[in-house]
Symmetry: C2
Subunit: 439 residues, 2 copies
C-alpha cells in the first residue's frame, strides 16, 4: 500500500522562491509544535497528543465494553458541530453512506433541534425500547451547556425514563469537560462520564472520547485510527519541508489567500468522504475565520471553505467554477484503492452513446473525470493541489485528519490569527438566550 | 394555513429608491415571461409551462401504474445533476432524511461513478432480484449521453439482465430528450420512454417527467406539487412588485452582488430542506455563473451559491460568517408549521445547564435560534432576506421551487447573462473524453 500523496505542481500563482519565503516563516511554529508533543494537554496544541494517550484508549474501551454488555441495538449520539462532525466523517469514510445497513448496532445522530427530524429518531428509540431492546444515549457537549444538545437530550432521556424508570442511568454516557454543568448532573444521576481535556477544542476533538467512544462502540478499529493519526503527526511536524505536506499545503493556501483566492474549495472525488469535507469546513471556518489578529487588530479574515463532490458537483457548480472569477484555491482529494472494483459490461450498442467506456471499470472512469477536471483547471490557470488517500481504512483516515488539523494550526499562524478560539459565535448565542428568556 | 412569506427589511445595503431603480428593469422581462405562458415549450422559459401540462401528468401516471403492476420493491433512479437533485429535494422535504423507512417501495439514487457507493446499491438490487423481488431502473439523461449515468446504468442493467434474461426490458424506464442516443436504444430495447421537452434545461426540469415519474412512483402527490408550482408561477409573474417575491428577491441579490456581496448563502433552518438547498445551488451556479454577457462580452460573473444548515452550521461556519468580510448576501429559509411538536420535559435540575428552555417545544427553541442569528446579522449589518414556507407539503414545496426558478430567470436578466445555458461545462468533459479514449 503506497502512502498518502500530495501534488502541488499546479499552483499557478506561486513560484519556488515565493513558496520558500512562506515556508521560512514556519520553522519556529514547527518547533513550538514539537515542544507541545511533550507537554501533554497543557498547550494550545493539546489535541496533537490525543492519539498517543494510552490511558484514554483504555478508558474508552472499558466504557464500550461495559455498555455493550447491555446488548443495545441502537446508539444515539446527541451532539452538534465538533461533537459529531468528526465521528460522522470517520464512520462514513469507512462504512459508506449506508452505514447502518447490515450492522447489528444502528447509530443515529441528533444535532439540531429540528422537531420533525428529532421526532423521526425519537420514534425509532421509542419503538426499540417498547419492544424490549436497549439503546445507549451518548450526550456530547464540551462546554456542557449547548442549547440544542441539552434540549434534544432531555427529549430522549424522558423517553428512556418512561421505558426504563429504575435503571435509565445505565444507558447514558455523557462526554464533556470536567466540572461542566453537564458533568455535575451526570455525576448526580450516576451516568457514565468521559471527559475532554480542557484545552482540546471541539473541532480538534475527534481523537478524544468525543469521537473514540461512539466509533469504538460501532466496532471501528480505533487503535488503527489513532495509529494513523500518530503517523500523520510525525509527517506534519517534521522539519523537512519536502515531505511535510501539512506545512506546504498551509503555505500554499495562505499565499493564494493573499493573492485574492478568498475561497478554499475542498473537492472530494469519493462519495464516502463527503462528511470528511463537512468536518474540514468547520475546522477551517472556526479556525481562520477571524475578526482580529493575534495582537487584537481588526482584520476580518474571510477564507471561505466550500465543499464540492466529484463528479456530482461537476453537474452542479462546474459551470460557475470554470466561468467565474479566479478567486478560488482548490484542494482535490481522491482515494487510490477502493474496496470494490465494478466493471462495465461490453455493450457495443452503447459505444455511440458514450464512447470509450465499454468494459472499463467505474474507477477508471472516475479517475478520467478527475484528471479531465484537473486539466481544465490547469488550462484556465485555476490553482489547485491534489491529495490522494491510499484507502478508506481507519489508519489512513486517521492519518489524513491529523494532517489536516495540523495544517490548520500552520494556516492560523501564517494568517496571524488564533486557530483555537471562536469568539464571534457568542454573538448569536447571546441574542438567542435573550429571546428564550422572554418567550 | 397562511401563505409563503418574504421579509426583506434587513437588506442593509439598499434603500427604497435604489430597489425601485432595480425593479424598473424588470417589467419588460415579466411581460416576456407572461407571453411565454402561451407559447408552450417553444421558448427559453419553457419550464414554467410544465406544471400546466395535463398530458404530461397523464403520461407519467400511466407509466407509474404500468410499472407498479409489476409489484416492485425498489426504485433505482440513475441520473446526476439536474436529473436527480429536484427529485431528492422534494422527496426529503416531504419524507425527511429517513425517506426509506416504513415505505413499501424503497428508492436509491445513483449519481456519480464512485465504485464503492454504486456497489452498495448494486448489492441491494442483486439481493432483491435474487430473492424474487422486482426492481425498476429509471435512467435519466437529458442529453442521453451523460458519462456517469450511462456507465452506472450499464452496470445495473447487466445485473437485471442476469436475473431477468427474458423480460428485463419491462423493468426499465428511460427519461431523455426525444431522439437522443439513449432514446434510440430505449426504443430498440423496448424500454418505456418518457421525454423531456427540448428547451427545458436539466436544472429547470423537476416538474417534467424527470421529477414527476419517480416522485409519483413513490406516492408523492404530484398533482398537489404542480398545483403549488402553478400558484408559484402566478405569484412570480404578476406585475405588482409588492407581492412578487421572486422579482424582489432577484433585484436584491443582483443589487448586493454589484455592491460586492459575491457570495449568496442560502441558510435553511429545517433538516429536511438540505437537499432543496443542493438543488438551488445548481440552479444558481449554472444559471448565473457565466464567463460572458448575453452580448458575448467577457464578464466572469462570480456569484457563489453556498448552502448552510441551521442550527447545525452555526456550530461550524458562524464564527467565519460573523467575523469575516461583509461579502455575503444571506437568504434564510424556515418552515412555519412542522408535522410534529416535540416538547421538552420540565427538569428543574437542567435549568442551570441551559436556562429558559424547560417545558418549551423544540420548535420554539429553533425559532429563537433563527431569530437570534438574524439579530446578530442585523447588528453586524450583514444583509439578509427571510422566506418562511408554510409547511413541508407537496403544494408548498412545489410553489417554492417554482418561485425560485423564476427568481433565477430574473436574476440572469438583471446580471445580463443567459440563465439557460452552461457552455463551460464542456471544458472538463472534452478533457475527460480524451483521457478515456487513450485509457
Amino acid at each position: 500500500m503506497k502512502s498518502i500523496t500530495f501534488d502541488y505542481k499546479n499552483t499557478c500563482q506561486i513560484n519556488g522562491s515565493e513558496l520558500d519565503k512562506v515556508q521560512k516563516e514556519l520553522p519556529k511554529e514547527i518547533e513550538r509544535m514539537n515542544a507541545a508533543r511533550t507537554s501533554g494537554y497543557d498547550s494550545d496544541y493539546a489535541s496533537i497528543n490525543l492519539p498517543f494517550d494510552e490511558e484514554l484508549l483504555k478508558a474508552v474501551c472499558a466504557r464500550v465494553k461495559e455498555k455493550k454488555s447491555l446488548s443495545p441495538t441502537t446508539l444515539v449520539v446527541i451532539g452538534i458541530g465538533g461533537s459529531n462532525l468528526g465521528t460522522i466523517a470517520v464512520l462514513e469514510a469507512l462504512r459508506g453512506k449506508f452505514y447502518n445497513s447490515d450492522q447489528e448496532v444502528k447509530v443515529y445522530f441528533v444535532g439540531t433541534t429540528d422537531t420533525d427530524h428529532v421526532n423521526d429518531i425519537a420514534q425509532i428509540t421509542e419503538r426499540e425500547l417498547a419492544t424490549g431492546n436497549n439503546i445507549i444515549l451518548n450526550v456530547i457537549s464540551k462546554s456542557g451547556g449547548t442549547t440544542e444538545t441539552i434540549a434534544n437530550f432531555e427529549v430522549l432521556l424522558e423517553i428512556l425514563k418512561n421505558h426504563r424508570p429504575y435503571n435509565y442511568h445505565q444507558f447514558v454516557v455523557a462526554t464533556t469537560d470536567e466540572n461542566s454543568a453537564l458533568w455535575d448532573i451526570a455525576r448526580k444521576e450516576e451516568f457514565a462520564v468521559l471527559t475532554i481535556p480542557a484545552r482540546v477544542g471541539g473541532r480538534y476533538s475527534v481523537f478524544s472520547a468525543v469521537g473514540l467512544f461512539p466509533l469504538c462502540f460501532l466496532d471501528i478499529d480505533i487503535k488503527k485510527l489513532v495509529e494513523g493519526a500518530r503517523s500523520g503527526c510525525a509527517l506534519s511536524t517534521q522539519k523537512n519541508f519536502t515531505t511535510n505536506y501539512a506545512a506546504i499545503s498551509a503555505a500554499l493556501i495562505a499565499h493564494h489567500y493573499r493573492m485574492g483566492m478568498i475561497i478554499h474549495d475542498t473537492f472530494l472525488f469519493s462519495v464516502a468522504l463527503e462528511s470528511l469535507g463537512a468536518w474540514y469546513r468547520q475546522l477551517s471556518a472556526e479556525s481562520v475565520g477571524k475578526a482580529q489578529t493575534r495582537e487584537g487588530n481588526k482584520i476580518n479574515v474571510g477564507l471561505l471553505p466550500t465543499i464540492s463532490m466529484g463528479s456530482t458537483d461537476l453537474h452542479s457548480v462546474a459551470q460557475l467554477y470554470l466561468a467565474g472569477p479566479n478567486n478560488r484555491f482548490t484542494t482535490f482529494i481522491s482515494v487510490a484503492h477502493n474496496a470494490s472494483d465494478l466493471v462495465l459490461p461490453t455493450y457495443s450498442e452503447f459505444e455511440s452513446v458514450v464512447p470509450a467506456i465499454q468494459g472499463k471499470s467505474l474507477q477508471i472512469i472516475m479517475n478520467a473525470i478527475l484528471q479531465g477536471t484537473e486539466k481544465a483547471y490547469a488550462h484556465d490557470k485555476r490553482p489547485f493541489v491534489v491529495w490522494e488517500i491510499s484507502e478508506k481504512s481507519a489508519y489512513y483516515i486517521g492519518q489524513f485528519m491529523q494532517i489536516k488539523m495540523i495544517e490548520m494550526m500552520y494556516l492560523g499562524f501564517l494568517l496571524n490569527v488564533n486557530p483555537f478560539d471562536q469568539p464571534e459565535v457568542e454573538k448569536y448565542k447571546r441574542e438567542t438566550r435573550e429571546i428564550l428568556r422572554l418567550s
